[in-house]
């Protein structure tokens, strides 16, 4: 029973949504109600996840686990944001200014750090995986697109060269299209597995 009830709920809700979408007119009100419920449930799930995060770090502080200073920092910044936000409101310009003052430099610096990490990772890929069709085409493509990104070749304005550049610029779309279709098929399979109860919360 523990497994069957979630399976029935999951399958029925999925079938209801599919029926409401593929039979327009009759199911739109049902779909609206169901989507509202799901939005509320997704929000509550997020809040439960945040509460779980806070409780875990609180436990780290109480037990004095190694790195509890970081947990203290996290909880302090979380509490200050929450209290400040409740007092002034989420759309208050002063509140948003201070949130931006903290978040923007960290995100920008982290993205800057990504540039350095990516550079070392790109070099590491040849050391780790050796010379293969994938690594060679990756390296050549990176160099070619780095040169094309400079815009120097485009400025020469040679009709033949422009044709070649247009052809080369279209090449990544072929691989991207294949990857997109592959991901879509995988996602479709996963969705059917969830609906038929082969994956999901009822399946331990």
């Amino acid at each position: 029973m523990k497994r069957i009830l979630p399976l029935i709920v999951g399958g029925l809700s999925a079938l209801t949504v599919l029926a409401a979408v593929f039979l327009p007119g009759q199911g739109s009100s049902v779909l609206t109600v169901l989507l509202n419920w799901v939005i509320v449930l997704a929000a509550i799930t997020f809040l439960v996840a945040v509460a779980s995060l806070a409780l875990t770090h609180l436990r780290f502080i109480i037990t004095g686990k190694k790195g509890f200073l970081l947990s203290l920092t996290l909880l302090f910044s979380f509490a200050v944001t929450l209290v400040f936000g409740f007092l002034r409101g989420v759309e208050d310009p002063v509140f948003l200014k201070w949130i931006g003052a903290v978040v923007r430099p960290i995100e920008s610096a982290l993205l800057g750090l990504v540039a350095l990490v990516m550079m070392s990772a790109a070099l590491k890929i040849f050391r780790e995986r050796g010379w293969s069709a994938l690594t060679v085409s990756f390296g050549v493509s990176a160099v070619v697109f780095l040169v094309l990104g400079l815009g120097f070749l485009q400025n020469l304005n040679l009709p033949v060269l422009n044709g070649v550049i247009r052809f080369v610029e279209g090449l990544p779309m072929i691989g991207a299209r294949g990857l997109l279709i592959g991901i879509a098929i995988g996602l479709l399979m996963m969705a059917f597995r969830v609906i038929f109860g082969m994956e999901g919360p009822g399946n331990d």
Binding site: V9, G10, A14, L18, V21, V33, L34, N36, W37, V38, V40, L41, I44, F46, L47, V48, A51, A54, L55, L69, L70, T73, S77, T81, G85, F86, W98, I99, V103, P105, I106, S108, A109, L110, G112, L113, V114, A115, A133, L134, S137, F138, G139, S141, A142, L146, G170, P172, I174, G175, A176, R177, G178, I181, G182, A184, L187, L188, A191, P201
Partner: protein
């Protein structure tokens, strides 16, 4: 420059240096900066979730019992309580039903989104390349268009074969037929080209962010020296 602007600037530079301390092998200051980011982001998202979703969609209908949405709001409230029970060790199983509803609806939405938004447009875009109106113009075959269409078809099929891992097992290992290996290698070239182009795009963006962060530090230093 006002006092608050100055404080914002000092805070920004301090946090930037804390993140960049990772390059020197420091973990403490980098950890503090990332944990501040996690704490502030979690706090802000919690506030937005409460004010924009929970209050209007759950609390408002429940606060007026005479309203038509009251009975409908009882369902998400009950399911929400079951979800909250998951925070306690004994109530973990209670969350199975709301999570099943959530995953069922999301799976159905994924099927609709993937078929209508990705699979159909991508497949139609490939097949439209073989439209006779495009391939033959003024009774003359357009060889470049045909070459392009064939290349796209070959590229997409070969990329899909890269992830085909079924094969005969021989002494424990998976051996794929030779033609699959060949098509897979062509697919790897196309994936490499795509990843190379993506890498350059991401790398350029990250480099701009790095320059921006460094220029902020230089601007700050110029204020004092």
């Amino acid at each position: 420059m006002s006092l608050s602007d100055l404080i914002v600037m000092i805070l920004g530079v301090a946090l930037t240096i804390m993140v960049f301390s990772y390059i020197l092998g420091d973990r403490l200051f980098f950890g503090i900066a990332t944990h501040i980011l996690i704490g502030v982001s979690a706090g802000f998202l919690t506030l937005v979730t409460i004010q924009k979703v929970i209050l209007p969609l759950l609390v408002a209908p429940l606060s007026s019992p005479a309203a038509p949405g009251f009975l409908l709001a009882l369902v998400p409230m009950t399911l929400s309580i079951l979800l909250i029970l998951m925070l306690f060790r004994r109530g973990v199983q209670a969350g199975a039903i709301p999570l099943a509803l959530l995953s069922g609806v999301l799976a159905a939405l994924a099927i609709i989104g993937v078929t209508r938004g990705t699979l159909a447009p991508q497949l139609l875009s490939i097949f439209s390349r073989f439209d006779p109106a495009q391939l033959i113009q003024e009774a003359e075959p357009q060889w470049s268009s045909l070459f392009e269409a064939m290349m796209i078809l070959l590229g997409v099929i070969s990329v899909l074969f890269v992830f085909h891992h079924q094969g005969k097992t021989k002494t424990g290992g998976v051996v794929r037929p030779v033609f699959l290996e060949g098509i897979g290698s062509i697919g790897q070239i196309f994936i490499g080209i795509t990843f190379g182009a993506l890498f350059v795009g991401l790398f350029s963006t990250a480099l701009i962010a790095l320059i921006n962060s460094l220029s902020d530090i230089i601007t700050f230093l110029k204020l004092w020296f």
